[in-house]
């Protein structure tokens, strides 16, 4: 036998080819989509912050505008800016393509990749690409127009070429862009709906059809239930609604917020948060990255420690098992705040509070706090696995470590995701620890940045709601996205089918 024969390469032999799992393909698409978004965001942020780092909040007035930057922008800078927009949105097209491909993959998962589908893919990717391009023009031209308007309104000297060369052009492109993007957006949505609808039609059995009468009766019967739900929804969604409303309104105040010119207000409010540099030189983007690092780091460290500890507590009989479990739970029985000062002293003795490593210090502190709770949660998840499955694996010769890695861990995937999300959220919104540990003004995290908005308050505007609201939404978005992506993993019972 030659070496070539030994390698399993015969793809024609269905048997020998270890079929790659469909789910893993989906996962890759998801990963790409997330990376795409991150890339888009970061490139956006990086480019913008380079050019616009002279932006400051005008703290005296309620309005914070980014538009006056045009006054100080040179011609070369302007060209760079536009080129960077172009590059950024080309990347956006790529990401869009990936997302569309991802959607298609989900829909087409059981279908054969035929000519029709190929054509659809091309149409979809082109339309999404065009949406991106038009979106670019839409976005860019709004900036330019706003800049011109402000210049003319305030009567301050600006560059004439802006008004003459780009101003008219951009208005034209702006209108065309809106029309084209709307058309393609509708096309994309329609195609996806068409595809999904087709799939559902095939899946539904002929006997499952309901009469109109049945449907109406069902709705009528459910009315009281719906009423209660609506009532509940109003209460839960009211703050969210208010936040969203304020974030696109032009007046800083909760009760006085009015939605006038929502697009303009949206752009100005959100960009004020994202692109601007606060008083103490902390940029939003770097704080965002720092917070992501802390969140994912805490989650990972907490999970790695918790999973192994929880498995030992759940599955191994040893002297003091219950006592150790109690010890771990007992750490949750007193407020963590009372540990803060001792922790601070220890950390500073160890030199973990120096500016260069302070983020690692915070990471260490927050993950020690998270580990106990994670262990407790994971123990519960491990106990849900039927012991039979693990015993079967031991009988099959996998040994205890093999059983843990190959059988137990995949089965508590949903638990791991839940724990990861929990720790991620906790460290994402952790303020007290960060505030105590981080003294360097260049090492702020998102909650600390938020705190700075409060510091800016004057007697005229006690709270900058038009900053606070978009900030809250931007900060909530990653977590919401995570939840939406991982929802499926959380919901599906892992052990289904393994035992009777």
């Amino acid at each position: 036998m030659t070496e070539k024969n030994l390698v399993i390469t015969e793809k024609n032999d269905n048997f020998l080819t270890l079929e790659p799992e469909k789910t893993s393909k989906e996962n890759i698409f998801l990963i790409i989509a997330i990376f795409g978004f991150i890339l888009l965001f970061i490139s956006w942020y990086q480019i913008e912050s380079l050019l616009w780092n002279r932006i400051r909040y005008t703290t005296g007035s309620g309005w914070v505008s980014v538009a006056p930057i045009y006054q100080n922008t040179s011609l070369t800078d302007m060209r760079y800016m536009i080129t960077s927009y172009l590059v950024m949105y080309l990347l956006g097209i790529l990401c869009n393509f990936v997302i569309v491909a991802f959607l298609l993959k989900i829909i087409m998962i059981d279908k054969i990749w035929n000519e029709k589908v190929k054509k659809l893919t091309v149409v979809l990717s082109i339309s999404s690409g065009l949406t991106s391009i038009t979106g670019f023009w839409l976005f860019n031209s709004i900036w330019v127009i706003e800049g011109i308007k402000l210049i003319t309104d305030t009567g301050q000297p600006g560059y004439d070429w802006v008004r003459i060369d780009i101003g008219d052009l951009s208005q034209f492109i702006f209108i065309i862009g809106i029309i084209i993007s709307i058309i393609f957006f509708i096309l994309t949505i329609l195609t996806i709906i068409f595809l999904i609808g087709n799939r559902e039609k095939k899946a539904a059995k002929p006997g499952m059809k309901q009469n109109v009468g049945d449907v109406i009766r069902n709705i009528l019967l459910n009315i009281p239930f719906y009423l209660v739900l609506i009532f509940y929804l109003i209460f839960t969604l009211l703050p969210v609604y208010l936040t969203l409303k304020i974030s696109i309104s032009t007046f800083s105040g909760v009760s006085t917020a009015e939605v006038k010119e929502p697009i303009k207000a949206l752009i100005i409010n959100y960009s004020s948060v994202i692109f601007s540099v606060s008083k103490d030189e902390t940029q939003f983007g770097s704080a965002f990255l720092r917070s992501i690092f802390l969140g994912i780091g805490t989650g990972t460290i907490g999970l790695i420690v918790a999973v192994s500890a929880a498995y030992a507590l759940a599955r191994f009989k040893f002297r003091g098992n219950k006592f150790f479990t109690f010890l771990i739970i007992s750490t949750q029985m007193f407020p963590g705040l009372i540990l803060l000062i001792p922790q601070y002293i220890i950390w500073s003795t160890l030199g973990l509070l120096e500016e260069k490593v302070v983020i690692l210090g915070v990471l260490l502190a927050s993950s020690t706090g998270a580990t106990a709770y994670c262990t407790w949660m994971m123990k519960g998840y491990f106990e849900t696995i039927p012991i039979d499955i693990e015993e079967a694996s031991i009988m099959d010769g996998a040994g205890k470590v093999g059983t843990f890695v190959k059988i137990a861990l995949p089965l508590v995937k949903s638990g791991m995701v839940a724990v990861l999300l929990f720790t991620l959220i906790t460290s994402w919104q952790d303020f007290v620890l960060a505030r105590t540990f981080i003294q360097a003004e260049t090492k702020q995290t998102l909650p600390l940045l938020f705190y700075n908005y409060q510091n800016m308050a004057t007697s005229d505007a006690p709270v900058y709601f038009d900053l606070v609201a978009p900030y809250s939404i931007i900060v909530a978005l990653p977590i919401v996205t995570f939840f939406m992506l991982l929802q499926k993993t959380l919901a599906v019972g892992a052990v289904a089918g393994g035992i009777k």
């Binding site: 793809k11 790409i32 970061i42 990086q46 960077s84 694996s393 996998a398 393994g498």
Partner: protein, 459 residues
């Protein structure tokens, strides 16, 4: 295949004794059924043999080797669980191959391969990064954006995998062919993988689940899951099979079907098998020998025929057979020159066959046992018959179970072939088949042997 010996095996859970002094010798290729009511220690015995439960006292030997301290994976025995215990996240193929893969001798190869794969992707990521860092750096507005290029590396690798999904496969093969040049264990791994493939092929053909190969357990029906669970045991060709009520989760019809299939399979494989069940029909049909357990004690060990015809005590007699044996308490007295079994409701003249054995028990309490299928019902009087009335009739198609009421509220069940023509409350004559009677000592509940004396369960 192997010989298995239990020597005075005892299992204690604290104060509670689950299995007491179990002595059992299972020959090579023998099919032994452990049967008994729930909580009698049959599953515990099996788990002790499997190594999932520690042995409190005594010794278990497989092939003359004491296995008390040998971990389960080194005992080379396979177990089929009541709940199937399939791995829900694996396909049928991987479920079957798991046991073989875990026993691979070249475990280091897997580690080397995965490390190489990670390194490979890492190198690609670094190349992407370097490309962005040093080529794109000349574009003015991208200068100095290190973090952007870091993400670009990861993005590039992911992009590659999405654009060319097949490439993962090719890279895997590339790494294997590259690695096998300097590491022999990877070559061995490939050889073993081919062997595993062959074995899985054989096994699924044997079990008739070819079409289910790439499905996951939750997509399978109960019978198919059962087959996969069996296949997982068969594929390793172990020294012995342990089956812990494998059919009890199936519905009645499928259970009968699988029972026959299991019999065919074990005949073909000629494997040493220990089968635990609470269903005496399964035990009778499948087992070469049956071990009847009660409260941790082996009451009788014997072939199905022995257990059925000569039960050693009242428990075994009552447990084996359906409907179960009728018991009547009474005394043996001398009457009219012969010996008579005298109970509250009837007196029955003892046939000649039992006279020698009964001699020691005259004027003592005994229990008469008679199986339902050994009772004859007639409308007219015959020799040595008793009179009774019909209480209840339970026709089940092929047979009818007739509940006969004797005076003093003694009830018996008789099994009559076909649909019985009797009516309820009808007066009938009952006749016991002369050579099918069982007598038990009322004190020890042990069988009174026709030769004389009582049976000894320790034998």
């Amino acid at each position: 295949m192997a010989k298995i010996i239990f020597e005075n095996v005892t299992k204690k859970f604290g104060e509670f004794i689950a299995v007491k002094n179990l002595n059992l010798e299972i020959d090579d290729q023998e099919f032994v059924c452990l049967v008994g009511p729930s909580g009698c220690g049959k599953t515990t015995s099996l788990r002790m043999l499997a190594g999932l439960e520690e042995i409190s006292e005594g010794v278990i030997k497989i092939d003359e080797n004491i296995v008390n301290d040998i971990p389960p994976k080194d005992r080379d025995i396979a177990m089929v669980f009541q709940s199937y215990a399939l791995y829900p996240h694996y396909t049928v193929y991987d479920n079957l191959a798991f046991g073989l893969r875990s026993r691979q001798k070249v475990k280091s190869a897997n580690f080397i391969l995965s490390t190489m794969e990670i390194l490979f992707y890492g190198i690609i990521a670094i190349l992407f990064w370097a490309f962005c860092r040093y080529i794109l750096n000349f574009i003015p507005f991208l200068t100095g954006n290190g973090i952007l290029f870091f993400w670009a590396g990861l993005f590039g690798v992911s992009l590659m995998l999405v654009m060319f999904p097949e490439s993962r496969h090719d890279i895997h093969n590339l790494i294997i062919s590259f690695g096998s040049k300097f590491n022999k264990s990877i070559v061995q791994l490939q050889e073993e993988e081919v062997n595993i493939n062959e074995k899985v092929k054989e096994t699924i053909k044997l079990l008739g689940i070819e079409k289910q190969l790439w499905k996951k357990p939750k997509q399978l029906s109960g019978g198919q899951r059962q087959r996969v669970a069996l296949g997982r045991a068969i594929i390793r060709n172990p020294k012995a099979f342990l089956m812990d009520e494998p059919l009890s989760n199936l519905d009645a019809k499928l259970r009968v079907q699988m029972r026959a299939e299991l019999q065919r399979l074990t005949n073909k494989l000629k494997a040493t098998t220990i089968y635990v069940t609470h269903d005496q029909i399964e035990a009778m049909t499948l087992g070469d020998r049956i071990v009847v357990l009660n409260e941790g004690i082996a009451n009788q060990i014997g072939t199905p025929k022995e257990v059925y015809n000569t039960p050693l005590n009242q428990f075994v007699a009552g447990f084996i057979g359906s409907p179960s044996m009728n018991f009547v308490n009474g005394k043996i007295i001398n009457k009219d020159g012969g010996k008579v079994f005298h109970s509250e409701s009837f007196s029955y003249k003892i046939p000649e066959r039992y006279l020698i054995g009964i001699e020691d028990f005259i004027e003592k309490d005994v229990i008469l046992g008679i199986r339902p299928e050994h009772i004859e019902l007639n409308r007219s009087e015959t020799n040595n018959s008793l009179s009774a009335t019909i209480g209840v009739l339970e026709p089940i198609g092929s047979d009818t179970y007739v509940y006969i009421d004797f005076p003093e509220f003694i009830e018996m069940i008789a099994k009559v072939e076909g649909i019985a023509s009797f009516k309820i409350d009808e007066q009938i004559k009952v006749k016991f088949l002369d050579d099918q009677l069982h007598f038990f000592d009322a004190d020890s509940k042990m069988r009174i042997l026709p030769k004389g004396g009582i049976a000894d369960s320790q034998k």
